[in-house]
């Protein structure tokens, strides 16, 4: 009665892409640097996109305002880290991490709390109506961005990486930056948590069912309203976390930073198949690698690389690599 047919084909895309690039890059150490950097970049992209897989993929809310939570997370982190100058300034990685974790936590809390309000006032009236979602969340995004400008000022804000996380580890001739290793760790953690919650518990099923027929889910005895709020809050908090990671990666922040990554994360989610965590991870890794390889081989084409990738994937699987919902 139980069948387990794992769809393995998308899983090999990542190694295949890496292998194809190997002969093209010429030297092994260059390839290694690019590949590791690309994978780590993919992980960061995955973290900022993971909240959107929940909100857009599962809840079917076209949240164009997702970026504002990313920006918010980053700005909150800059305030928290700014207040902990001693810890970030220390050379010890341990001290630095001790500073970064509360920053992440506070950023997630704040982003989650704002997410709660966002769900209530912006998203709730438009569940199920895509076009209105686009407009109203755009409005929310603009408002959020302006409020960030009111609080933190319109200009660019530095978010220096704690000293211990700077620099690289050398593997032969290849350099692997320390911060990216941290990103990989955080990414794997987020992925594991999401995959477990959605795959091993009924939450994922409930959300998908709730999107289709809210009344029926309630008639079965589930409090779908609270669940939706919860998922939205988690999605926003993940965006906040992503904002911290992204901000520390960029090392400077601007209020528009969220809007700037919108297209990128939409691409990742679409490649992944709207709502699949594994799909989003694969999408993010592919985009990360692809950008780095084209950046090395043909810099002018970098901007178009991820779009070309998306089109190619959609030609192969019109619903993304792991379609979650069949007929929506």
């Amino acid at each position: 009665m139980k069948t387990f047919d794992l769809d393995w084909k998308p899983l090999v895309l990542v190694p295949v892409l890496a292998l194809v690039a190997l002969p093209l890059t010429g030297s092994f150490s260059t390839w290694l640097t690019l590949t590791v950097a690309g994978l780590a970049m993919g992980m960061i992209i995955f973290i900022i996109a993971s909240g959107l897989t929940l909100v857009f993929g599962l809840m079917d809310v076209l949240n164009f305002g997702h970026g504002v939570f990313i920006a918010l997370g980053a700005f909150v982190a800059s305030t928290v880290l700014g207040a902990m100058g001693d810890w970030t300034g220390s050379q010890s990685i341990l001290h630095n991490l001790v500073a970064v974790f509360p920053a992440m936590l506070v950023a997630m809390l704040v982003a989650g709390a704002i997410g709660l309000a966002f769900e209530r006032f912006i998203v709730r009236p438009v569940y199920g109506q895509h076009l209105k979602q686009i407009l109203i969340t755009m409005g929310g995004m603009i408002i959020g961005e302006e409020l960030i400008k009111v609080i933190w000022g319109p200009g660019q804000l530095p978010l220096p990486l704690p000293d211990g996380l700077r620099g690289s580890l050398l593997v032969g001739d290849a350099a692997i930056s320390k911060y990216r290793l941290l990103a990989v760790a955080v990414g794997i953690f987020v992925f594991g948590l999401l995959a477990w919650t959605l795959g091993r518990t009924k939450i994922g099923l409930l959300i998908r069912a709730g999107v289709q027929d809210r009344e029926m889910v309630e008639s079965l005895g589930y409090r779908i309203g609270q669940l939706f709020v919860g998922v939205f809050v988690v999605g926003s908090a993940l965006a906040g976390l992503g904002g911290v990671m992204w901000g520390l990666f960029q090392q400077n922040l601007i209020p528009q930073m969220g809007a700037q990554v919108n297209v990128l994360i939409f691409i990742v989610i679409i490649i992944g198949g709207l709502g699949s965590t594994t799909g989003a991870l694969i999408g993010a890794l592919l985009v990360g690698l692809m950008t780095n390889y084209t950046g090395f081989l043909l810099p002018v084409a970098t901007q178009f690389a991820s779009i070309a990738l998306m089109v190619a994937v959609l030609l192969w699987r019109p619903q993304g690599v792991y379609p979650v919902a069949g007929s929506r």
Binding site: M1, K2, T3, R200, T201, K202, L205, L206, R208, A209, Q212, D213, E215, M216, V217, E218, S219, L220, G221, Y222, R223, I224, V324, A325, G326, S327, R328
Partner: protein, 241 residues
């Protein structure tokens, strides 16, 4: 312990600006099968939805056992032990049959935890459910969806089962199975409230009957007496059973 499991007293329901129910009084005796009959548009579906809290009564009381459920929210009402099969079946078409069933089985965290014996029983009644276990429910045929909707409602034991027109689109053989299913459920002590257009179905199963017209219950009594009185049927339903 009253002898009626579910009672409605003077229930009025509005949908937007429309006043649909005008004081429904209905009693569903414990352990029996109550048929709710009436012409198209009489308000049967509206009554069921009001019981489930999907619409709220603007006036009157709904009581389940000793508890007043008029103002409760749908999930709370369902948690009290009521299963509901809506008129439109409420199938989650993107989910597989298994996932549909799993959601209905509130006690089970995953497919392995579902009650095997009960599943066997359901598979016996509705073979299509077993056959298409891992298929997306949206791809089922019209009748198969109807079977799935009923299976979902009975996957776990509930005190009260509310079903809206389960027989439409079903082949005669399956209608028989469904009659058997309700019969067995009744024997196991489940109380059932059923809306139905299929006359044979109604006659074979009903213990008590309530007839609605224009948002009110205009007749209630035993099914036996109702079946015998052709004149009453003619005047209430516009046809003889």
């Amino acid at each position: 312990m009253g002898e009626n499991l579910l009672t409605l007293e003077g229930v009025h329901t509005h949908i937007g600006a429309y006043h649909i129910l005008h004081g429904v009084d209905l009693a569903v005796p414990r352990g029996q099968l109550t048929m709710l009959l009436g012409r198209n548009g009489a308000g049967k579906t509206t009554t069921l939805r009001t019981i489930m809290g999907l619409w709220h009564a603007s006036q009157g009381r709904v009581r389940f056992g000793d508890q007043d459920i008029t103002a409760l929210r749908t999930p709370q009402i369902a948690e009290l032990g009521i299963a509901y099969v809506p008129e439109n079946m409420g199938i989650f078409s993107d989910l597989t049959v298994k996932e549909n069933m799993l959601l209905a089985a509130r006690g089970a965290k995953n497919a392995q935890q579902m009650d095997e014996a009960r599943l066997k029983w359901i598979f016996g009644l509705f073979p299509a459910v077993e056959k298409f276990w891992n298929h997306p429910a949206g791809k089922l045929s019209g009748g198969q969806k109807q079977m799935l909707a009923v299976s979902r409602a009975i996957v776990e034991p509930r005190e009260l089962l509310i079903v809206d027109e389960p027989s439409k689109g079903l082949a005669p053989a399956i209608i028989n199975n469904m009659i058997d299913a309700f019969d067995q459920l009744k024997k196991s002590g489940v109380t059932i409230l059923l809306v139905e257009q299929n006359i044979h179905f109604a006659q074979r199963l009903g213990d008590t009957v309530a007839v609605m017209d224009n948002g009110r219950v205009v007749h209630s009594g035993s099914m036996a007496a109702f079946s015998a009185d052709e004149q009453l049927q003619q005047s209430l339903l516009g046809l003889a059973l």
